[in-house]
């Protein structure tokens, strides 16, 4: 868990650089999911409200919806995951990022948890 990442209650992480946020799923989430075998990523240019369904991560056992942790427009997706979905397991918070979005409202970031708060949150779920 990186200290400069922010986390949603749905187990996405966000790394913000200016008005661009990179989004992935947390290490806790990938452990819960198990081996990831397919990821459906959004189309570039799509806009989404915070909490809206934006991607799907499929493990051997099940499909899990990914919810947009912030509102904005998709500007880039991690194409490498098409051939190597296992990157989400091996490197969930670096190489396994899912997409980048241009934020509508940077203030929304304040609604996300910092690493310490997220750790407490997942410990309670553990």
């Amino acid at each position: 868990m990186s200290s400069d990442l922010r986390y949603s209650e749905e187990h996405e992480w966000v790394s913000v650089d200016g008005d661009i946020a990179t989004v992935g799923i947390s290490d806790f989430a990938q452990q819960q999911l198990g081996d990831v075998v397919f990821i459906e990523l959004p189309d570039i240019g799509r806009t989404v409200e915070r909490g809206g369904e934006i991607a799907v991560v499929e493990s051997v056992k099940a499909a899990s919806e990914i919810y947009a942790p912030l509102s904005g427009e998709i500007v880039e997706v991690n194409d490498a995951l098409a051939d190597e979905p296992a990157k989400v397991n091996e490197s969930p918070e670096v190489d396994g990022w899912l997409f980048k979005m241009r934020l509508n409202d940077a203030a929304e970031v304040g609604k996300l948890m910092d690493a310490a708060a997220y750790k407490t949150f997942t410990d309670d779920q553990g």
Binding site: Q32, D35, V37, F38, E58, V60, K61
Partner: protein, 376 residues
């Protein structure tokens, strides 16, 4: 994204519960038991089973003993399999049917010489045993072997591993059974399983189960395998999962399990019919069923899962998926489901609706992965 923590019902534990926890398994509720869904990860466990040997705890399944000279004739009242003609030491796949020809459960029946040994699904065992007591009670003695565990050792190394511990198992062939002593324990071994691989199922006294499991796991080739990989292995092998691919609403004909109806039990056989729904099943064999179970290979990498609607090229609903996921040996998604009989031919192109979008799938031959049973 977090998994359901499960209901508040009290979950039963198998004799291997402590071992699963010690091995780092993720434990989940399944059919009233708390069971290991995975240890190292489903992909690794699946591949290990196909390349070496996997040890599965299937002690949640029901083990039942039918005693008495009339036991074989009695169970034929409930299943279309030929059990009276089953030789000593031989095992057969069977189905409990209902009056409509639907399937109440699938099961394995073994002629153990002086009794029948029956294994039924965990989720159906209470009703199955009640069903047998209700219909066979006066014809044979029915005893649930609740004090016995059941281990499955599956994979190409299962034979060599078992031969080290129990040399008498070496010359057993697929779907045969033998009473064997292993580590001083009185075991009943069948050469069978649910992965498409060679392998064994070992019925062992519950008190000796952990010792046997540890001894098997001490062999280099053997790793513990959870229910997750058990499901992906059986799906690649084209084997039905009760409650998904077969249930009270599917007949053996629709499910393409006519091979599980004994020749002697067919309309012109020496012990014709006489099981629940027999007339309906015979009519369906003669006329052809309206729908059939088929294998499905989705295009691309997206898994097509249970419940997905199947459509023809015009978008008309023609069936649905009953099992689906990612096949680790296939390195591709695999599925099975039911389609209208006219669309069941191998190579037929259909669409599966996944998250509202049509995804091309092709009707394909099963098993997806070649079965490697040991036939001597």
């Amino acid at each position: 994204m977090a998994e359901d923590a499960g209901s508040r019902e009290v979950l039963a534990r198998t004799p291997l519960f402590d071992l699963h926890v010690e091995l780092g398994a993720r434990m989940v509720p399944f059919a009233g038991y708390v069971m290991p869904v995975q240890y190292q990860g489903i992909l690794d466990e699946h591949r290990h089973t196909r390349s070496a040997a996997g040890l599965f705890d299937v002690s949640h399944m029901g083990q039942v003993r039918l005693d008495g000279p009339g036991a074989a004739a009695a169970i034929e009242i409930l299943v279309p399999a030929d059990i009276a003609g089953l030789g000593a030491g031989r095992q057969r796949y069977a189905l409990f049917t209902n009056a409509e020809g639907g399937i109440l459960d699938d099961l394995m029946v073994t002629n153990a010489g002086d009794h029948l040994f029956v294994v039924v699904n965990a989720g159906c065992k209470v009703q199955d045993i009640a069903h047998m007591r209700a219909h066979l009670g006066g014809l044979c003695d029915i005893a649930e072997l609740a004090d016995r565990a059941l281990l499955a050792l599956q994979g190409p190394a299962a034979g060599p591993v078992m031969a080290r511990l129990a040399p008498a198992t070496a010359d057993m062939v697929f779907m045969t059974a033998r009473q064997v002593e292993i580590l001083g324990a009185d075991c009943f071994v069948t050469r069978s399983g649910y992965t498409g691989e060679d392998g064994f199922e070992i019925s062992v006294p519950g008190t000796k189960a952990e010792e046997l499991a540890r001894r098997l796991l001490a062999e280099d080739e053997v790793a513990p395998i959870g229910l997750g990989a058990r499901d992906s292995l059986r799906l690649e092998a084209g084997l039905c999962l009760y409650g998904h691919d077969i249930d009270t609403g599917t007949t053996p004909v629709e499910a393409r399990l006519v091979w599980a109806i004994g020749k002697a039990r067919r309309g012109d056989g020496e012990r014709a019919l006489g099981y629940p729904g027999a007339e309906i099943v015979e009519q369906q064999i003669a006329a052809g069923p309206a729908r059939r179970r088929v294998g499905l290979l989705p295009e691309g990498r997206a898994p097509v899962r249970e419940g997905a609607e199947l459509q023809d090229g015009e978008g008309r609903a023609v069936g649905h998926v009953t099992s689906g996921g990612f096949g680790p040996t296939m390195e591709a998604p695999v599925a099975m489901g039911y389609v209208e009989a006219g669309l069941a031919a191998i190579g037929t192109k259909l669409n599966a609706v996944v998250r509202g979008k049509p995804l091309p799938v092709t009707v394909a031959k099963m098993p997806f992965v070649k079965q490697r049973y040991y036939r001597g």
